[in-house]
């Protein structure tokens, strides 16, 4: 096919082919009036679809990557991996993420709430938070020489539980020794962080009534005497009891036989 060059721009030329079609083609150094036999027409290699498909694929990949990042971030940073209970006299429960950072601290009794009040956990490692809470307990007069600190950890990961308790005991002991408080002992509490060591009302020989279990649970949480349970469910050997007070939601399982609290959770009441 022959093409008559009709117009020349910097990058393009307008040519007329011998079938009568005017075409915009690449200007390969043409001159007006020249006849050429081989041209590079417009549109033949437009990246359009190919480019858009690649672009869409890249976007989809970024979306998946972003999702995984967010999911991973949530999983590792914002989701609680376990809890650590520190019993000084103030009883506090710390939620910890997979990376070992404290997400939240709450008091499990009245003193614990006083100790935890106003304490910021943002960006704090568990060991730092434990040392700082101990320091606060000393300065608030909750902890003196001769006292004992109990440590318990709870998580689905048994290895994490053991390791956390051991590490915290060592760290706290070293910290207290450094502070000149060698007589304060740090001991592991029971593996379950929410066990009540003893319940005065427990009557091994008989089974607790729902009201008695609720009263035991309220005492456990340090709630005022007579706080009414929002919900009590009888589940074979245990009562599942819920309280809602001061914008918090308290859930626990109380064993019928002795009033021991087997599991407890405290959340913000949204």
């Amino acid at each position: 096919m022959k093409y008559l060059v009709m117009e020349c721009g910097t990058a393009y030329a307008i040519v007329l082919d011998d079938r009568g079609q005017f075409l915009r083609v690449a200007n390969m150094g043409y001159e007006v009036g020249q006849t050429v036999t081989d041209v590079i027409p417009a549109g033949a290699s437009h990246p359009g679809k190919r480019y858009m498909i690649r672009r869409m694929a890249r976007l989809a990949l970024s979306a998946v990557f972003t999702f995984l990042m967010i999911f991973g971030l949530y999983h590792y940073v914002f989701a609680a991996f376990g809890t650590v209970r520190i019993q000084i006299n103030p009883d506090v429960l710390l939620s910890v993420n997979r990376l070992g950072y404290v997400l939240d601290v709450s008091g499990l009794n009245e003193d614990g709430r006083i100790l935890a009040e106003g304490y910021g956990t943002f960006g704090k490692k568990l060991t730092d938070a434990a040392c700082e809470l101990t320091e606060r307990a000393v300065s608030m007069g909750f902890l003196a020489d001769g006292s004992t600190i109990g440590i318990a950890a709870d998580s689905d990961d048994g290895g994490w539980r053991t390791e956390t308790v051991t590490r915290l005991m060592i760290e706290l002991q070293v910290y207290l020794t450094g502070r000149g408080m060698k007589d304060i002992g740090v001991l592991p509490a029971e593996d379950k962080p929410v066990d009540i060591p003893e319940t005065k009302e427990s009557t091994p020989a008989s089974v607790l009534t729902a009201e008695e279990a609720a009263a035991a649970a309220a005492r456990y949480f340090g709630l005022p005497e007579g706080t009414a349970a929002a919900k009590i469910e009888d589940k074979n050997d245990v009562y599942e009891i819920e309280f809602a007070a001061d914008g918090m939601e308290y859930d626990c399982e109380v064993r019928k036989s002795d009033g021991a609290v087997l599991h407890a959770e405290i959340d913000r009441d949204d």
Partner: protein, 242 residues
């Protein structure tokens, strides 16, 4: 980011106009050179390297086809350039084994010297000069219809069926010289007569009005070189001469 925004604004202003797009090509020649150099691994020379011409054309096309949905303009232009150059190399590869007249024989003699019929360069130059003068005149007459050659290229029918329909209307006009005269005297394309006479949809002709005007004009005013080139669009009959 702001820079991208400025470029996009310039491109949007130029994308409806091939000449404005050409101005952008000149403005962004350093960028085009750089993209070409990335591909050929050396600095491209204007007028010597086909790759640079192809890259300039790719940039030009990128301007005309750009939309903000395609991301930052320069990245889009870079992709266009790369694709064009890749296609060019693929096409060149298909032609490997074909000897170039610019090549040499084993003993270093230019192949061109072995071609018996060497083209007559002076005759070609005369013909080219005549063609240039005629095309300039043709473009001037088209301007009286407020049409330029770039617009005709954009307005030219691409689909085979449409192209054939326009061809039928053009043949009908050639067989009825009064219609060609009407175009020249009134400055308007006699669409109704062409549509009815050639049995072509009026809408088709309206859509390709600029193209129709250009070809009919070539057949009415003695543009012999252009007419001689159009040996297929109206086959079978000699073009009208004044």
């Amino acid at each position: 980011m702001n820079n991208d925004h400025d470029i996009a604004a310039k491109v949007y202003a130029a994308r409806e106009d091939a000449r404005a797009a050409d101005d952008l090509v000149r403005q962004y020649l350093p960028f085009i050179r750089s993209e070409t150099a990335k591909f050929i691994h050396r600095y491209p020379m204007e007028g010597h390297d086909d790759e640079l011409s192809i890259a300039m054309f790719a940039f030009h096309e990128a301007v005309l086809s750009y939309s903000r949905l395609k991301g930052p303009f320069l990245r889009y232009a870079a992709v266009s350039i790369r694709h064009r150059l890749i296609d060019h190399y693929r096409s060149e590869r298909r032609h490997t084994g074909v000897l170039s007249l610019d090549g040499e024989t084993e003993d270093g003699t230019p192949l061109m010297n072995q071609v018996v019929a060497v083209k007559d360069e002076s005759a070609e130059l005369v013909l080219r000069t005549a063609a240039r003068t005629e095309i300039r005149e043709f473009a001037g007459q088209l301007a009286a219809f407020s049409i330029d050659l770039t617009e005709i290229a954009e307005n030219c029918p691409r689909q085979k069926r449409t192209f054939e329909a326009c061809g039928r209307a053009l043949r009908y006009a050639k067989e009825h010289p009064a219609l060609l005269d009407a175009l020249v005297s009134t400055g308007k394309l006699p669409i109704t007569q062409l549509a009815e006479g050639a049995g072509v949809e009026r809408k088709t002709l309206e859509r390709h009005r600029k193209y129709m005007v250009a070809v009919l004009l070539a057949y009415t005013n003695g543009f012999e070189i252009i007419r001689g080139h159009l040996n297929q669009v109206m086959p079978g009959k000699e073009a009208r001469t004044e």
